[in-house]
Symmetry: D2
Subunit: 287 residues, 4 copies
Amino acid sequence: MMMDSLRATLLITCPDQKGLVAAIAGFLAQHDANIVDFREHVSPDAQGFFARVVFDLSGLAIARDEVGPAFAPLARRFDMQWALYFSDQPKRMALLVSKYEHCLYDLLIRHKGGELPVTIPAIISNHPDMQPVAEFFKIPYFHVPSAPGGKAAQEAEILRLLAEVQVDFVVMARYMQILSAEFLGHYPHRVINIHHSFLPAFIGGKPYHQAYERGVKLIGATAHYATEELDEGPIIEQNVVRVTHAETVDDLIRMGRDIERIVLARAVHLHADNRILVSGRRTVTFS
Amino acid sequence: MMMDSLRATLLITCPDQKGLVAAIAGFLAQHDANIVDFREHVSPDAQGFFARVVFDLSGLAIARDEVGPAFAPLARRFDMQWALYFSDQPKRMALLVSKYEHCLYDLLIRHKGGELPVTIPAIISNHPDMQPVAEFFKIPYFHVPSAPGGKAAQEAEILRLLAEVQVDFVVMARYMQILSAEFLGHYPHRVINIHHSFLPAFIGGKPYHQAYERGVKLIGATAHYATEELDEGPIIEQNVVRVTHAETVDDLIRMGRDIERIVLARAVHLHADNRILVSGRRTVTFS
Amino acid sequence: MMMDSLRATLLITCPDQKGLVAAIAGFLAQHDANIVDFREHVSPDAQGFFARVVFDLSGLAIARDEVGPAFAPLARRFDMQWALYFSDQPKRMALLVSKYEHCLYDLLIRHKGGELPVTIPAIISNHPDMQPVAEFFKIPYFHVPSAPGGKAAQEAEILRLLAEVQVDFVVMARYMQILSAEFLGHYPHRVINIHHSFLPAFIGGKPYHQAYERGVKLIGATAHYATEELDEGPIIEQNVVRVTHAETVDDLIRMGRDIERIVLARAVHLHADNRILVSGRRTVTFS
Amino acid sequence: MMMDSLRATLLITCPDQKGLVAAIAGFLAQHDANIVDFREHVSPDAQGFFARVVFDLSGLAIARDEVGPAFAPLARRFDMQWALYFSDQPKRMALLVSKYEHCLYDLLIRHKGGELPVTIPAIISNHPDMQPVAEFFKIPYFHVPSAPGGKAAQEAEILRLLAEVQVDFVVMARYMQILSAEFLGHYPHRVINIHHSFLPAFIGGKPYHQAYERGVKLIGATAHYATEELDEGPIIEQNVVRVTHAETVDDLIRMGRDIERIVLARAVHLHADNRILVSGRRTVTFS
């Protein structure tokens, strides 16, 4: 089946210039690679070029390890930032959780069902509560409570764990602690957070209460890359659900859970499948 | 056909208390009125009661003019704010417009097609541009430019016109001027504005530019009752449409037009059909 | 908290006639019941009347067991079909499953999280596969394989189990067998099925393949009461998700799972919360 | 501004094979064309390749008229079906209408507002009713009634008109007559129809009545290329809106109008902007 073939994905960001598509496609043709998906975007100010190229590894004229080195000179010529991924090396994702379980369950079930192209070497939590869930799904669970040494010590321990299990990216699945700028600096654009509002509306800790007070007719959720400014990182995905005057705050919380998990799952899928490029405060998402 | 029968609508707001539904329905049964729609809402704090009751006038045991006086003692007993409307007396709606034409066209076409239960005695604008549209749809057009006497003089002239044509409510169909608190005081919860964002996100004059900069994945529009605090009035209706990184600001403006007109039309319909009750900063909308 | 108060829900279907609301509300007022939610619907042909009335049991002037008997004469007078439910007696729901797990997980997690006002005395399956899931969520699991005696024997065993654990309604959570008319006759309008298409489009067993072949731009799911005519029962809830030419059949299946579980969960919630009345092939859903 | 630059769009369909992207992009690079948008799709069976390439004409090393002839040998080599369009030569669109006006108004207002990259040389109708609308928007109106010579004579006259005003494609804006296979043969995949249901549900003439009878919870509309099999042509765009038991057939008709016009406008935009390629019964829409 087509999906089972071995594939590589090339992500490229560079200044826009003539001949880019020809150069990239020409390079791949020269090595007998069959392009199965080519997406590109030129920013409206005509400055930035963003591309995602998926090609088949079968029939490639060079070894897969030689593709990157062979591409490097071309990348230098066009001043590219680039990365190359192989479909048989899924990204390693760590989950940070607290006591809310809906997003955790959702990602674990999707993973179990083969929906998410990742491996999950660790679930890390500041509470012990989710340990049985981790065990049921056979994922290692690490309880890293708020330490006597304070937040810095706790974050240091989490960073140590992430390094130990060689994580590629981190998902805050309703993790109820704020990560420091220093922590995030270790995983730039590789920590995904889910905020339970339609950002930039209702920043902060009580968005459903705020939504109720304001009397909005839709509530939403937003997945974004966490940055040092709270709730200000590049948005990956958003969605909303209709509400009425009849819903209580508890109803909004309940209804919001469905949106949170769908939005987070979609963002995780986009990231894991190498479909996101960051452009300042915006994301280019080739969905 | 059922829809053609003569009907009355009773809108009621009062403190919640036992026996309200029985008292209201009992009153109507006593006068042989057939209830065709009964909707009520008790606020989650169990304080406020809101109801909309539609009943058939055919077979009513008293004259329609006597219904209100007969209801008054009961209303006093329960401390009700209430209003009674008849389906053969559609509300009189004035449209305020500037140079954007999409919402104006939309409301006029719906009105012409029989969708909106209103009469439109006036279109008022600070510009002459929309006069031909008004003529085509046979609606009187009044050009009230920014006056030498300034905004106060202009608003005074608009108020005079609204009174002269006996308007029940006012719709700002992308009217690009801010109405003063004094002006709005003449039509409390009877001036509907359409804001081109998903409030409370992107308050102010350039929401599509802000949405582009922030990189949101959905854009929206909000219809609300205009109050003296800009973009802070009770929300009547909201909707959104999905956008991607590929859309320019101009694309957002174009795509937003569809949401603006659908949201505004829906809000106008709800108001004209007596389906909205205001509860502080929130609306109860029996849609 | 308001939600914790003890409540009763009265569901009523009868021919439309004058004085119904007054009679129902009057009865409740007479016994000092406080109505917290009153919803009614008169069918467009003005023949049928459908109502859902929720009232507080605190302060009621009679014992809760006396409410039904006291209401019966009034019900007879108006030729009502009616039922009375109490909020501290949640419905008993059985789940029928095969090998698909997404809907099963979804309902169990919602139940565990307190979202669904039901108890689950049994999960019944024609396969053993879901037993570990049932164990993790501490729900009794019954494996009823296709019997040598054939389908009739298998259904008889399921009926026996349902009776033994005193089930109020049954949910086919992607149960891959067709239930006979005889079986369904034991639970009229009490067996909920989820069909993986937007009915009436794509009836039958391969809706995602059909959707792909037809090239639709949205795929959907439908929850309905199972009747002897396959996929023809009264629809409770539907939803859709946008797809493009780029999605394979496998993608549609994956994306459809999200819609299936949301639609099924919503239908189960509506049924469990006594919000559905059946009117021929249609449902009145007071959501 | 970027949007004002002169651009060309190349649409390509051919069997999939290695080197296609490189060949196309290489051709354009060779002539100093700057690619501003490149989209491609390989069908899941890995047989078909579909591409849309937009490039800037400024700085092109050859005359625009020479692009096509220069591309032809390459196209032959890869067995391509292809077409080349220039942004300063908008497509010529004819509108077929009967007595429903909402889609007609909608397209004319969008056109007037600069939303649709088309010219409209003719509105053709079997009724005289829409003539004033055409006049207001300054579009030539042709009344072609059901002729004594029957349908064939009427269609012949319409074909004559379409040829005379040199139409590129035709939009049936709720045109209430069925076009013959012979007629459609003159404009293969160039006649867009709007059907007032979510196809393939509710084929035929009374979809809203059918939707009401079936009790669906969403109603929809479908824009498709008309083919000789009624309502079976390749789907371009679909959308839905939520309805409840409370809506009458008349309500569905009213609510459906909003979906019809949005779906039709979007389909027209996709076609006019050269974003659709047909693949059997499916469309590839690079939106």
